[in-house]
Symmetry: C2
Subunit: 345 residues, 2 copies
């Protein structure tokens, strides 16, 4: 598979992106096309010694985190994000990986790839670590006001992703809510419950916030507002906990010695929860494969994102999504006739 | 102040509640009325040696976690929850503390206390620990589908609480959203932003999930669905992180020795994030003061909840809320005329 990597727009700069590409081409049979500034990318490729192993497409513009997504796509035609998606549209590459402004990445995907047939709202999935295996949460920010059929399509897309990435034949799907009984939740969740129940998904019912990290569910479905709050809350809390622990440990010599002895355990733990291990958040529901990485992604995160993109493209995640959608069409069609809650926009 | 403590319905049983009451009466000048089963509470009072220091009101029924809130209040008239709120209504006590079924506690408060004048939706606030001071989050579960004016009233009520409990003269209020700019969020948040901006609250704009634990905001406002998911997600994640760390530390003798040396730091850290330190979640917006405790509250949590209830009643939290509401009436009245988002039920 050929993957375009947007080398610009990350917090760490193009050199880190190129280092990530170098890790990926050395780890797997993946063909990478770096897209970005000639002045910044070419020297980095030289330095990593991978100039002969990857392709390069020069661009002159950069989409920043503060750019409005729509303006960015409209006005910065020669930006690395836009050009990467153009390459995908033209079939020059099979997938795009970008650590840039996620709104602009979404906007470029909408413009250049378009929605997958019968998907109303493409979205972004994210992988959370748990006490057992990883869990896929969708949507984490692309769609803030949703209807039941949107949540249902998130369930289908995230299930297809879980199957390909984690080899789970029938991923257990839960609706994120505030009580385990089907009758609990807001208007959107209550109304979606029936749709999930009558579907072909392996639906296990509502799950609560605290179930997220237990590992007893493979896919958690929520609207993009709730999902994004959860994603950022989790990141913030994990950092706060480690920072508070560090502060307490720093207070006495004895505790510092203790930490020194236990440091391998801390480092194993950090690896277990490190976002970099999970390789970014897949864009699902487009005619093409894309992966959005955290703006502060390090080379390891970029490497893993490239491998995830490769896996998704190679295993045709979209074909899986289309099949699952087709199998569930009668359920969705029946549901359309019934009422949708006032609480869903 | 006189506080009724619902001694039944907690996961740990009446003896733990009585032990909490004993801690409270020995720590402060607070008058407690235990409400619950004679057979279970009286021996515990004897054992703690506080029979002469507290009052006791016998009840014959118990509301369980699986009872439907409305049925519980309607059919279990002689339950500890219902009787405690009756005592408050009659003016026999000044506040109620309950570790029971929070839906039933809300239902009893609605029935026996009623809403505070001009408050459309009473709710539940919760205190989260942060890197700096505590932050008050409201609503955490009572109101799942909200309109802007409800969020605004949560902002007022939580500000009054923050002022009384933490002595913050003008609490910084943030709207929980998925981007810091005012234009970002779901329909409800976007529409609420203008209302907060034109108000007399110390509104600092949108805050994101990751800001929750930084301590740069005193009050975070969100609907009860989002707030409840955040509360439970945070509890679940904190437990998962500690459990993963423990697992990693358990793997080698060296790490276990390290932990032994650093154990005081771990215990200080746990104390810092322990829900028990924060004394339960206040019910705000009712004609009367109530505090809901976690079902698994230990004696320390109960003691702190009793002291919080005492503080709220003594400092007349409701008078503060009413004054703030009155000061903001013109803003609310102006807003009523404009459109509310389709996304809000």
């Amino acid at each position: 598979m050929r993957i375009a990597l947007d080398a610009m727009g990350s917090d760490r700069g193009p050199a880190e992106m190129v280092a990530g590409a170098a890790l990926a081409v050395r780890a797997a049979e993946v063909h990478i096309t770096l897209v970005g500034s000639k002045e910044q990318v070419l020297p980095a490729l030289e330095k990593e010694g991978i100039s002969h192993l990857v392709d390069f497409v020069p661009t002159s513009q950069v989409v920043t985190m503060s750019d409005s997504p729509i303006d960015a796509v409209r006005k910065k035609k020669d930006s690395s994000v836009v050009v990467a998606f153009e390459l995908l549209k033209k079939g020059v590459v099979d997938a795009v990986v970008s650590p840039g402004n996620s709104g602009a990445v979404m906007a470029a995907a909408i413009k250049y790839l378009g929605r997958l047939k019968d998907i109303s709202r493409p979205g972004i999935a994210s992988v959370f670590p748990t006490l057992k295996g990883p869990v896929v949460v969708m949507d984490v920010g692309a769609n803030v006001d949703c209807r039941p059929k949107h949540l249902f399509q998130f369930g289908i897309m995230a299930s297809a992703f879980s199957r390909i990435m984690f080899g789970i034949e029938k991923p257990r799907v839960g609706l994120l809510s505030i009580g385990e009984e089907g009758g609990k939740g807001n208007a959107l969740v209550k109304s979606s419950h029936a749709l999930f129940q009558s579907s072909g998904l392996n639906y296990i019912g509502n799950v609560e916030g605290r179930d997220t990290f237990l590992g007893d569910v493979d896919v958690i479905v929520c609207d993009g507002f709730v999902g994004n709050v959860c994603l950022k809350l989790s990141e913030g809390l994990a950092e706060a906990i480690l920072s508070m622990l560090k502060e307490e440990i720093g207070k006495t010599l004895k505790a510092r010695m203790g930490y020194f002895l236990a440091r391998q355990a801390f480092s194993n733990f950090k690896k277990r929860v490190d976002y970099a291990e999970y390789g970014g958040a897949p864009l699902l529901g487009f005619n093409g494969t894309g992966v959005i990485c955290h703006g502060r992604s390090n080379m390891l995160a970029i490497k893993n994102a490239l491998l995830v993109a490769d896996e998704l493209a190679r295993n045709q995640v979209n074909a899986h999504i289309l099949t699952m959608l087709e199998n569930n069409m009668p359920v969705l069609a029946d549901f359309e006739e019934s009422d949708v809650p006032a609480g869903a926009a």
